[in-house]
Amino acid sequence: MTRTKEQIMDDVAGILRNFNGREYSGDIDSNTLFFGDLGLASIDAVVLGETLEEHYGRKLPFHLFMADLGRRSVRDIPLGELVAFLHQHLNASTPG
């Protein structure tokens, strides 16, 4: 099943709108920062990874995403980069 980046952005925004009981009423788009804007913690990124795997029904190499995040001097990430990561791996021919 191919999903466009726009569809994936909608999926991610839908999940983060009410993430494990924490509601977020502001705009969520590709520029929204995971930590700075949404106020989420690093552990939320791990749990979001699992939530997305369940949502898409397949394993995704989130350890690569986490390690990339960990290497950044400013540890934050715009959702657009998460969407690009998902787009790349969801549309790869073999499950990651």
Binding site: F35, A41, I43, D44, V46, H63, M66, G70, R71
Partner: protein, 288 residues
């Protein structure tokens, strides 16, 4: 979401790899996400079955009001080990996680195969650490706390409970300062711990006296930042534990795993392989 329940309490955990068991313990106010963030979990999963969980009161684990001493949390560790069917485990603990790891080796010697003590500070060895306020990073730490609207003094450097309470009672005018410096998530987790006995419990010796610390005979590695505030503890462990090696992470202070992740991961990998009798690859690395 993988959770393991022990005595009615839920702990969030992640597991990767196959092989001898390694369990990773974060420090107070942290969570298990640090291990995938620094790439330690995937690196170790090549040789070991690696389990990382959120301590009680942290991350996605439950937050009981009490029970945060190293003895209590060593109990959590072995109960989680049993519930997940893990064998004798190599335990890596950072900071208070290291105190929990050593306490587990003392209380449940057969459950633990070896220890990696990553920059721990032991309440039972507090008399060694009289010069923390002279530590090179002290001023930086103090300034960061001030920018976040908190006050730390040289007398209460070891009192995290103070920081929890100050955060929970931050005047509204200082919320923005805190958010800018440490982030909203930090405010949530310190406020959450302020409602528990964690702050007092982690200062408690809780039976882990100096005599009992030095009685531990498990294979151990004292792994400290080369500019750690706790190098007196590092020396003490090296000289007094029966079977303890030392490694210093270059260009690192108390949080060596975050300050120099590639060097930290490589050292942990090398020493865990040695402890477990796993051959080192020709070219040591995989962490860079």
């Amino acid at each position: 979401m993988p959770r393991v329940t022990v005595e009615g309490m839920k702990f969030y955990y992640q597991q990767a790899g196959e092989g001898p068991d390694v369990v990773l313990l974060h420090g107070v106010t942290g969570n298990m996400a640090i291990w995938p963030l620094i790439n330690l979990m995937p690196a170790l999963a090549a040789d070991f079955r690696v389990t990382a969980y959120d301590l009680r009161g942290h991350g996605y684990s439950d937050t009981p009001p009490t029970g945060y001493t190293s003895a209590d949390m060593a109990g959590d560790l072995v109960k989680i080990q049993r519930a997940l069917g893990l064998g004798p485990m190599y335990v890596l603990g950072h900071s208070f996680g290291g105190v929990i790891a050593l306490h587990a080796a003392l209380l449940y010697p057969d459950a633990v195969a070896g220890l990696i003590l990553s920059d721990p500070y032991f309440p039972g060895l507090r008399h060694l650490e009289t010069r923390v306020s002279e530590w090179s990073g002290w001023l930086e730490y103090k300034e960061q706390a001030n920018r976040a609207g908190l006050e730390v003094t040289e007398e209460d450097w070891f009192d995290v409970g103070q920081l929890f309470k100050q955060t929970a009672n931050l005047p509204p005018g200082r919320h923005e300062m805190f958010r800018k410096e440490l982030g909203l998530a930090a405010m949530d987790r310190l406020t959450r711990l302020a409602a528990t006995t964690c702050g007092d419990d982690v200062k408690a010796v809780a039976g882990l006296t100096e005599d009992r610390i030095r009685s531990v005979r498990h294979p151990a590695l004292a792994l400290f930042g080369d500019s750690s505030p706790f190098l007196a503890t590092c020396r003490y462990l090296t000289e007094n534990l029966a079977n303890c090696r030392t490694a210093l992470v270059p260009n690192a202070k108390h949080r060596a795993h975050e300050e120099n992740p590639p060097a930290y991961v490589a050292l942990v990998q090398k020493h865990l392989r040695e402890m477990a009798g796993i051959a080192q690859p020709q070219r040591v690395g995989g962490a860079a």
